[in-house]
């Protein structure tokens, strides 16, 4: 089985031993095959972001194992792991360096997979490559290579972040509600861009979203999280038949039954 991302029995607890103790991730197993595009939905506090942070290396799990391309990366530091993992954040300001130019930002992304040395970041040859990539965004950014990224709009910055996260061909792409902070039309633009890029590069992708329609439109698999657990999973065939109503129903059914079982314990 050629699984690019594998989570084995991941468990993470915050504030252990205090009254604020919270089990963020409760023995989660997940496996992504090459080319899988999995969308993750769930209510606030379900553990989606924690899951992302555990995969990217921003946090380490208390128990369990994270494997990327059969390599155990459970305790690998974030900056090392990010050679293998591309990431786009929710905040459009988070993925780019505002006081540096577009081409300098691209140069930083370009040297992600190699170790950085004293060679020039923006050479003639590399600039051609940047222009070619920027053209694929259809935002006219290829004509503004020397513009500081801080001058771009949120949508443009997020498009640039997406490009920067993907163009060095990482093993895994993590999208953390990357359209949530944008207005609807910009969000749609980024959604379409995401679909195009992932289709074209066949990247193995994990996308967290609040938007159920988006979760259904994109990707070939869907998982639903609640209280640190994966409570529902749909494979390609099942997902194609899902609608937002069915998803909500499913959510209600699982949560409802769970709540009633909780209540029965209390009674």
């Amino acid at each position: 089985m050629n699984s690019l991302l594998q989570l084995n029995q991941i468990y993470k607890v915050f504030n252990e031993g205090t009254p604020d103790e919270k089990i963020a991730i409760n023995h989660v197993n997940l496996s992504l095959n090459k080319g899988d595009f999995v969308t993750v939905i769930g209510s606030n506090g379900a553990g989606k972001s924690t899951l992302m942070n555990l995969i990217s290396g921003k946090m380490f799990p208390d128990i369990g194992q994270v494997k990327v391309d059969s390599q155990d990366v459970t305790t690998m530091k974030e900056h090392k792991r990010s050679r293998l993992i591309g990431r786009v954040f929710q905040d459009p300001m988070a993925g780019t360096a505002p006081s540096m130019t577009i081409e300098e930002n691209l140069a930083i992304a370009y040297s992600r997979a190699s170790s950085r040395g004293l060679s020039r970041g923006v050479t003639k040859k590399r600039r051609e490559f940047y222009i070619e990539k920027l053209e694929s965004l259809h935002l006219g950014l290829e004509n503004r290579l020397q513009a500081k990224v801080g001058l771009l709009s949120g949508g443009e910055r997020q498009a640039l972040s997406l490009l920067m996260a993907t163009f060095t061909d990482p093993k895994i792409l993590l999208l953390d509600e990357h359209t949530a902070a944008l207005d609807p039309s910009r969000a749609e633009l980024i959604t379409n861009l995401t679909r195009d890029i992932v289709n074209e590069t066949n990247l193995t992708t994990l996308m967290v979203t609040h938007n159920m329609q988006q979760a259904l439109d994109l990707g070939n698999r869907l998982i639903m999280m609640d209280s640190g657990q994966i409570i529902f999973e749909a494979n390609e065939e099942e997902k194609s038949k899902l609608t937002v109503e069915k998803l909500l129903e499913e959510f209600q059914r699982i949560r409802g039954s769970k709540m009633s079982s909780d209540r029965s314990v209390l009674v």
Partner: protein, 343 residues
């Protein structure tokens, strides 16, 4: 007067190296590094003590630079590995360096007046070229003999040195490592997600910054003819003053422009201080106060100017819109009159 300004430009060019170091930490890494007060003296004392013990002054200056690099790295390690707040790790290192500097020199002051230094070596070399006489006679022939400084050599040497270091910094900040360093000061989350070790970058950046500062310290000791344990007090403020004045006067649109502004700022700062000290009631001891006032005004004045401009712009806009309204009223009046006459 002229010679006083001349020598302040000379010194300014040396202090520009220190200011470039401060620029690296303060602007590029966004790390207000107070180590500078200590590492400047470290550079001076290492160079002085080596020269006094008979070492080649060029080697002594290079060793001073390395010592500064290590001091900066220590501050970086305190911050990144020790998790100490940036300001505090700088202050701790500054205090520690005070004692270390005393240990290096063995006493609080090492005179270099009769020693062979980088400056004297270069002066000798320059004198042999006989350029000063040529320029001197040129000045004399146009009646400016009184305004001729003793030598142009030091100034030229320092300016060339400052600009070559500036060139190196510009080039470095465009390399892959340099870009990562700049991004570290700009957006740490982002650069970490692009496989850069921000801890290492900060340590390297602070090392380079303090290497430049110590290099300047070594040159100043040789220029002034002594190294003193107290010569670093307020150095960080002088560095900041240079950076801020430079940016206010010359702008900081990109790196090349910004580093140029830092050099310019360092020289302008020296000239301002020299002029201020010529004012009758001011004493040498007032220098730090003058510096503080210069920095405050360099920070506040541009803002006030902008506010004033904005206010004038608003006034103009208001006036214009009022005029437009008047015009349209008049026009409609004319139309009415025309309509009436048609009747």
């Amino acid at each position: 007067m002229f010679t006083a300004i001349f020598s302040s430009v000379e010194a300014g060019a040396i202090y520009a190296l220190m200011a470039l170091g401060v620029y690296l930490s303060f602007r590029i890494l966004d790390f207000p590094d107070l180590t500078v007060d200590g590492s400047f003296v470290t550079g001076a004392s290492v160079a002085a003590i080596m020269i006094v013990s008979g070492a080649n002054p060029f080697i002594a200056t290079m060793v001073a630079l390395v010592a500064g690099f290590m001091a900066g790295c220590m501050t970086g390690l305190l911050h990144t590995k020790g998790g100490i707040n940036p300001l505090l790790s700088g202050i701790l290192m500054m205090i520690a360096l005070y004692s270390i500097n005393l240990r290096i020199m063995g006493k609080s002051n090492v005179p270099l007046l009769s020693e062979e230094t980088v400056i004297t070596k270069f002066s000798d070399f320059w004198t042999n070229l006989n350029i000063d006489q040529t320029i001197g006679s040129l000045f004399a022939s146009i009646g400016l003999a009184d305004y001729t400084p003793k030598t142009w050599g030091i100034l030229l040497f320092m300016i060339i040195l400052a600009f070559s270091i500036k060139g190196l910094i510009d080039a470095f900040l465009k390399t892959d490592i340099g870009l990562a360093l700049r991004a570290t000061g700009d957006n740490e989350t982002m650069i970490r997600s692009f496989s850069a070790n921000t801890d290492t970058l900060k340590v390297i950046g602070l090392g380079l910054s303090n290497a430049l500062v110590a290099f300047a310290g070594a040159l100043i000791a040789q220029y002034n003819g002594f190294s003193d344990v107290g010569m670093g007090i307020g150095m960080i403020i002088i560095g900041l003053a240079s950076v801020i004045i430079g940016e206010a006067i010359f702008g900081a649109k990109n790196i090349v422009r910004a580093t140029f502004a830092v050099i310019g700022g360092a020289i302008v700062y020296r000239i301002i201080v020299t002029l201020a000290l010529r004012v009758e009631f001011l004493e040498t001891g007032d220098m730090k106060l003058i510096t503080a006032i210069i920095v405050v005004s360099a920070l506040v004045v541009p803002k006030l100017v902008n506010q004033q401009k904005e206010r004038q712009r608003k006034k103009k806009r208001l006036l214009e819109s009022a005029l437009r309204q008047n015009n349209s009223l008049e026009k409609s009046g004319e139309q009415l009159a025309a309509a009436k006459s048609d009747l």
